[in-house]
Each structure stands twice: as structure tokens, then as C-alpha cells.
């Protein structure tokens, strides 16, 4: 499965949003309605899914679906 689809799965599960809202350009807070706690949960979910560790500093920069996909790509 490509990274985008896997990221989408995590987002749908952690944020409880409809899959069709999870587009590459969607922003977690503004478009998908995540609050600060859900953002943390989302990052933790991505760490689990891809077996990576995301520092708090890096997590600050991951604000869109595409940013998450790119970040994970850079780590793999």
C-alpha cells in the first residue's frame, strides 16, 4: 500500500473523519478539526504505523497530510 493510503488510515482512525476528506492538501487542524490532543495522538499513531520516532520539533512542522507523507518518505 502506498504511504498516502496508510497515512489516511491512521488519520481516519485517530481523528474520526470521513476518508474522502483526507486529501493531500488537507490541514489537520483547520480542515480536519483536530485539536491539540488529537494532533499528539495522530503523531503517535503515525509512529506506530511506520515504526519511526517523530521528535516534538519535527511534529511541529507536520501540519498537512502531504507533509506527513513526505516526512515518512524521508525517514524510510
Amino acid at each position: 500500500m502506498e504511504t498516502f493510503e496508510q497515512v489516511k488510515e491512521v488519520i481516519v482512525e485517530k481523528l474520526g473523519v470521513d476518508a474522502d476528506k483526507v486529501t493531500p492538501e488537507a490541514r489537520f487542524v483547520e480542515d480536519l478539526g483536530a485539536d491539540s490532543l488529537e494532533t499528539v495522538e495522530l503523531i503517535m499513531g503515525l509512529e506506530d504505523k511506520f515504526g519511526i520516532s517523530i521528535s516534538d520539533e519535527d511534529a511541529e512542522g507536520i501540519r498537512t497530510v502531504q507533509a506527513a507523507v513526505d516526512y515518512i518518505g524521508s525517514k524510510q
Partner: protein
């Protein structure tokens, strides 16, 4: 002081959801107790409970539901039921004249157990950021306030099995003092979890009549062997009388009195002769301004434990004297099981319904009366009777007692 009336009922119980279904089940004397289905209870001596069977999630959106513990889900559903029953609109509830006082005996036990597992298996770094906000016991009040935009007085009572009664009593005070026109008050509990059932079982506090779940909660019977855990929530709309009148509200009953006390005796055993309970019952009558002889019905704490049912009976005899023989005393826990922090709230609802409908709910399973317990416990079948004043008792682990007194509304 302002007068306080009950204008909306929101029961979510093992015997039914919503005022009508709950009243109907009480009239029928139905048991809501069955084998535990939520998890494998086979390693535990107690394998029965009163689980919620109705589709309560219809009152929550999917996103809201996954962000809260089950006990808050129950509270939000019960609040929605109570608000709908009251006929108030969400617009009318918004603002600082509406308050929230929803308690829980335990809080988010299911969340706690799940996250404890994560912690022990994977370490502190994997604990969900939602763990604390899902678990803590004030979140039912918090979420109900958020749902309705109610910015008035808000607090949380956590007095174990007396929580629901305490919440209604404390909420009544805010309205009496003029600090709120409407209070959404009650209790919620979702403790049918492996650790809670296991803990209660090891206290020898719960019934192990696993082969006869429907007959396991048998208050005042000689063969009672402990309480049966139930789950759910009860929330009521309490309203200042003139506010209720102005909108032509249906009034179930007037909430008149509240007594609250401590046994100062033992963590789980009631004080001899129910002495702490007596203090709360007398205080409730005094604050209601009614004489013991005016009371016609007592919704008992009636847990079905050997110690409670004896101490409560002794306390009733002490407080009411000769009039105790004239009283109808019943335990709706015989049907619902013991909802801990929600118990007092659903029993206040049952008491208000008894006053409004003229039907006294029964104590079911009283097949073998304990010779020491000789009051009129309304055995087996509901009874038609017009009663003007009723009392609802709740006594908690920790020795904390809360008692409510209400009266048929007569204008």
C-alpha cells in the same frame, strides 16, 4: 429560597432507556440483570451485571463518542433524554443560568484499564494524550456543559454510591440560592470492567448467584448475598418553579429536601443501626420542612447486601418510629442492579415517577423475607398508591450518605 421542581427525566438503565420505558419496566417488575457480555468474566467469582442494552449511541455523533469514556457517553445520552423530556430547546439552555452537576462513583475505569495495559506493555511514552481527559470523574459535567453551552454553576460529586443523590441535592441548592434557573444533574457509571468486577468480587460485596442472574439482586430477602453491579446514567432537569411555570413545563415533583452526612465509622460497613444514615434522613426531612408522618414512600438504598439492608431497615424504624409500619419501602435495585454513582439519580427518577404516576415500584425477588426485616417492602408487584411525600436514600462506601425528599407538585 427559590422552589425547585423536576421537569425532565433522563434514565439510561439496564431495564430501559427514557422515562416511559423505565417506568414501564418498573411496573412490570422486570430484572435487567444477566450474564456479563462485555468481557470474559469466567475467571471471576461474579459473572453477572446489569448492562445497558439500548442504543444510547444514537444521541452522540461518532466523533464525540470516540473521544470520551463510556461513562461520559452514558451521561451525554441521559442528558439528551432529560432535555428532550423537559421540552426545553438547546437555545433555552445556553448561557449562565443553566448549570451542570453530573457525578460518577468511579469515572473512566475502562479507559484506565486500557491505558494501564499500554503503559505496562509499551511504556509511558505510548500513553494516549486522551487518557487523562477521558478518565477523570468530572468529565461528565464538563461534556454536558459543552454540549449545551451551559456556563452556569458546574461541579462534580464523587461520593461512590451516594453520588447521584448528592448531585441532585447540591444542584437543588444552586437553584434555591438563585444562582441558576436550570440544573442538569445526576450521575453516570460504566464499571462493568474486569478490574472493577474483580475488585468488588474480592471484597465479597457482590452476588455470586451466577446461575440465576434475574434473581441475584434480592434486597431484604433472607438469601441476599451481595449487590449486583449495574451501569448507565440518570440525569434530571431541575428547574426553578417560576421558570418552569413560565414555559408551561410538565412538573413531575418538587424537590424539597436534601440531607448529607458521614458515618465516620468504616470504609464499607454501615454504622450500627444505620446511625449515619439516620442523620442524613432527619436532615433531609428537616430541610424539606415535612414531618416524618407525611412521608408515604421510601425508595430504599436497598443494595441486597446483608449489612446494608439490615442497617437501613433499622434506620428507617428509628427515624419514622411507629409510622415506619405505614410506609411503603422498595428497592428498585432489585430490578436495575446497583448503578453506583448513577444509582441515586435513577432512583430519584423512579421516586418522582412514583409520585407523578401513583404507582409504587416493587422490590422483586423478595421470595424469602428476612425475619429481621419486617417493613412493607412492596414485594414482587408494583402497587397503585397516591403518595404525597417520598424519600430516596443513598448510602456509600466511605460512609457518606445522601438523602432526598420530594413531594407531589400541587402548585
Amino acid at each position: 429560597m427559590k422552589r425547585v421542581v423536576i421537569t425532565g427525566l433522563g434514565p439510561l438503565t439496564p431495564i430501559g432507556m427514557g422515562a416511559e420505558a423505565f417506568a414501564e419496566a418498573q411496573r412490570a417488575g422486570r430484572s435487567g440483570i444477566g450474564p456479563i457480555t462485555r468481557f470474559d468474566a469466567s475467571p471471576i467469582s461474579c459473572r453477572i451485571a446489569g448492562e445497558v442494552k439500548d442504543d444510547y449511541l444514537q444521541f452522540l455523533d461518532a466523533r464525540e463518542a470516540r473521544r470520551v469514556d463510556r461513562y461520559v457517553q452514558y451521561a451525554l445520552a441521559a442528558a439528551a433524554l432529560a432535555v428532550r423530556d423537559s421540552g426545553m430547546t438547546e437555545e433555552e439552555l445556553r448561557g449562565e443560568r443553566t448549570g451542570t452537576l453530573v457525578g460518577s462513583g468511579i469515572g473512566g475505569m475502562e479507559t484506565f484499564e486500557a491505558q494501564a495495559k499500554v503503559f505496562f506493555e509499551r511504556g509511558a511514552g505510548r500513553i494516549s494524550p486522551m487518557f487523562i481527559p477521558m478518565m477523570i470523574a468530572n468529565m461528565a459535567s464538563g461534556h454536558v456543559a459543552m454540549r449545551y453551552g451551559a456556563t452556569g454553576p458546574s461541579s462534580t460529586v464523587v461520593t461512590a454510591c451516594a453520588t447521584g443523590s448528592g448531585a441532585l441535592g447540591e444542584a437543588m441548592r444552586y437553584i434555591q440560592l438563585g444562582e441558576a434557573d436550570v440544573m442538569l444533574a445526576g450521575g453516570s457509571e460504566a464499571a462493568v470492567t474486569p478490574m472493577a468486577i474483580g475488585g468488588f468480587a474480592n471484597m465479597k460485596a457482590v452476588s455470586t448467584r451466577n446461575d440465576e442472574p434475574h434473581r441475584a439482586s434480592r434486597p431484604f430477602s433472607a438469601s441476599r448475598d451481595g449487590f449486583v453491579l449495574g451501569e448507565g446514567a440518570g440525569i434530571v432537569v431541575l428547574e426553578e418553579l417560576e421558570h418552569a411555570r413560565a414555559r408551561g413545563a410538565r412538573i413531575y415533583a418538587e424537590l424539597l429536601g436534601y440531607g448529607v452526612s458521614a458515618d465516620a465509622h468504616h470504609v464499607t460497613m454501615p454504622a450500627p443501626e444505620g446511625r449515619g444514615a439516620q442523620v442524613a434522613m432527619r436532615m433531609a426531612l428537616r430541610s424539606a420542612g415535612v414531618n416524618p408522618e407525611e412521608v408515604g414512600y421510601v425508595n430504599a438504598h436497598g443494595t441486597s447486601t446483608p449489612a446494608n439492608d439490615l442497617a437501613e431497615t433499622q434506620a428507617i424504624k428509628s427515624v419514622f418510629g411507629a409510622h415506619a409500619r405505614e410506609l411503603m419501602v422498595s428497592s428498585t435495585k432489585s430490578m436495575t442492579g446497583h448503578l453506583l454513582g448513577a444509582a441515586g439519580a435513577i432512583e430519584a427518577i423512579a421516586t418522582a415517577q412514583a409520585l407523578a404516576d401513583g404507582v409504587i415500584p416493587p422490590t422483586i425477588n423478595l421470595d424469602d423475607p428476612d425475619p429481621e426485616l419486617d417493613l412493607d417492602y412492596v414485594p414482587h408487584e408494583a402497587r397503585e398508591a397516591r403518595v404525597k411525600v417520598a424519600m430516596s436514600n443513598s448510602f456509600a462506601f466511605g460512609g457518606q450518605n445522601a438523602v432526598l425528599v420530594m413531594r407531589t407538585f400541587e402548585g
